[in-house]
Amino acid sequence: MSIGLLNVIEIILNGLMTGVMYSLVALGFVLIFKASGIFNYAQGVMALFAALTLVGFQTGQIPFSHLINAMFGTNVHNWGPGLPAVLAIILTIGVMIGFAWLFERLVLKHMVNQEPIILFMTTIGLAYFMEGFGDLMWGADIKALDLGIPSGGSFWFEDITKTWAAAGSDYWGMYIDVLDVWAAGIAVVMVLALTLFSQYTRIGRALRAVADDHQAAMTVGISLRTIWVIVWSIAGVVALVAGIMWGSKSGVQFSLSLIALKALPVLILGGFTSIPGAIIGGMIIGVGEKLFEYSIGPLIGGATENWFAYVLALAFLLFRPQGLFGEKIIERV
């Protein structure tokens, strides 16, 4: 194979992996949007908050330590060496579920039957609240997240692909980050689990029922409020997974909340209501932006990855506003 072709293959592979990372965030949006029609602007911040909490537990940070130190003149930071990764993850899941419960109790309950735009504004408020709260609770410094997920380039893959090029050429093999492969694997497992759960269990069926028709769901005896707590909990867990992956890749920092913006074009491509759409939309964007940067980028000065996804989404809005897999909107007149 020629080196040019190998390069393109490498770019596509890496694009797919990056795309899955976008999908992880988009998935959280889809879950909440399907069940309650709310576009949850806070999904990215939820990922950040979950990652912060996880690191906090893992490294044994005292929550609100800055606040405590400022108020009482103490100098406390850690309560101990920290918890093992598994325990920290379980505790963080607990925190995310508790958060979902509180949010329903304190906020969503009062927002039933409000206009979508009002609910959207609510989630913007939630986003800013969580960002500030996370800062107050765990501090604003960039933290390393290490759960023992392997990362870095795969030499094994590099060695194999090296042999694909013609003998004698100075091809170095393909670079693939093992962490990205893990992220892809985890995303696949998560989507499968979510799909099976919603297809074959009572609560899964109730979730689908609520997503389909609120009024009908109430008449068969489904409590909307319970379902919302469950949905926000699941979205919290999905946010945790996204937070772990992005945090392991680039450190847990507050710019993490901005990855939510990268999920938007993914949603427009895949449709706001489709779980497979979120995955495939993410992959299209990942591959698309990498290929575009490789082929057209040099001609127009590079840095196309920053805007390519949005332009692609715009083009989609013109021709297929419901997304690739979204439900087609047919108005019967």
Binding site: T201, R202, R205, A209, V220
Partner: protein
């Protein structure tokens, strides 16, 4: 539970006492009282805007009357949310069909079983064991309803694709799957052709006779109402005009004036 036609006993399963409901300045219902006896088919009739659907919505917990009491099975019912009413054993269908359109017929009917299923989230996530056994048991009940309503052929079809008449039948099926004691049907035959109406009438009578389910029915087709129902309540402009056996109501002069109008036969 099995009842026969003549066992239309005198014990009311539900009593509505002095119900008044208004939306802002609009009075939807004014001081309406009637009872629903165990095992009967009770019809609610009246011209458009008479308050029939409002009445049904009061019973199923979608509306809360400003004045008046709802008594269910001998107890005064506190204000309840629709899902709580459903859990008490009251199922309903809607005038403009409220099905889960993206889900199959079986899944729609299975949602009707939700209140009878108890296995917790943990086992459901594992799926094997109790959750699987429970699912199978309830699936059996749902298959029974499917046989009863003769909708075997569409069990896996997403209901959004079904004809109007079949959707109405699936909606009835979902209410039946809930094993409700009180079944509220809001215009079950609206928009149906004659053949579909006959089928639906047959199912309503069968449900009432075979399962002993008490039924409250809103319907515009007078011949259907007179044939099916044991007793009829007539509403007009949110007030109760008449209440009694079909024959008596049909001959009530005020009813003829307000509703039946010209059809003096």
């Amino acid at each position: 539970m099995v009842n026969t036609m003549e066992s239309t006993t005198q014990t009311p399963v539900m009593e509505l006492k002095n119900i008044s409901l208004s939306f802002g300045g609009v009075k939807a219902l004014t001081d309406i009282s009637f009872d629903i006896r165990e095992g009967e088919i009770r019809a609610l009739i009246g011209p458009n805007g008479a308050g029939k659907s409002s009445m049904l919505n009061v019973i199923s917990g979608f509306y809360h009357p400003q004045i008046g009491e709802v008594w269910f099975k001998g107890e005064k019912r506190p204000p309840m949310k629709p899902y709580q009413v459903a859990r008490q054993g009251v199922a309903r269908t809607f005038q403009n069909i409220a099905l889960f359109k993206g889900m199959s017929t079986i899944d729609n009917l299975m949602t009707g079983r939700i209140n009878h299923m108890k296995v917790n989230l943990f086992w459901q996530a594992l799926w094997k064991g109790p959750a699987e056994r429970e699912e199978i048991a309830h699936r059996e009940r749902v298959e029974h309803v499917i046989d009863f309503l003769e909708i075997q052929a569409i069990r896996k079809t997403p209901v959004g694709r079904l004809s109007y008449g079949l959707q109405k039948r699936v909606e009835l099926g979902r209410a039946l799957a809930a094993d409700a004691q009180l079944l509220l049907l809001d215009e079950p035959m609206a928009g149906m052709n004659l053949e579909e109406k006959e089928d639906m009438s047959r199912f309503i009578i069968d449900v009432n006779e075979e399962f002993g389910t008490t039924i409250v029915l809103i319907e515009h087709d007078m011949s259907v109402v007179m044939d099916l129902s044991d007793r009829v309540v007539v509403l007009d402009y949110g007030r109760k005009l008449a209440d009694g056996e079909p024959e008596a109501v049909r001959n009530d002069p005020s009813v003829i004036d307000a509703y039946l109008g010209v059809s003096h036969d």
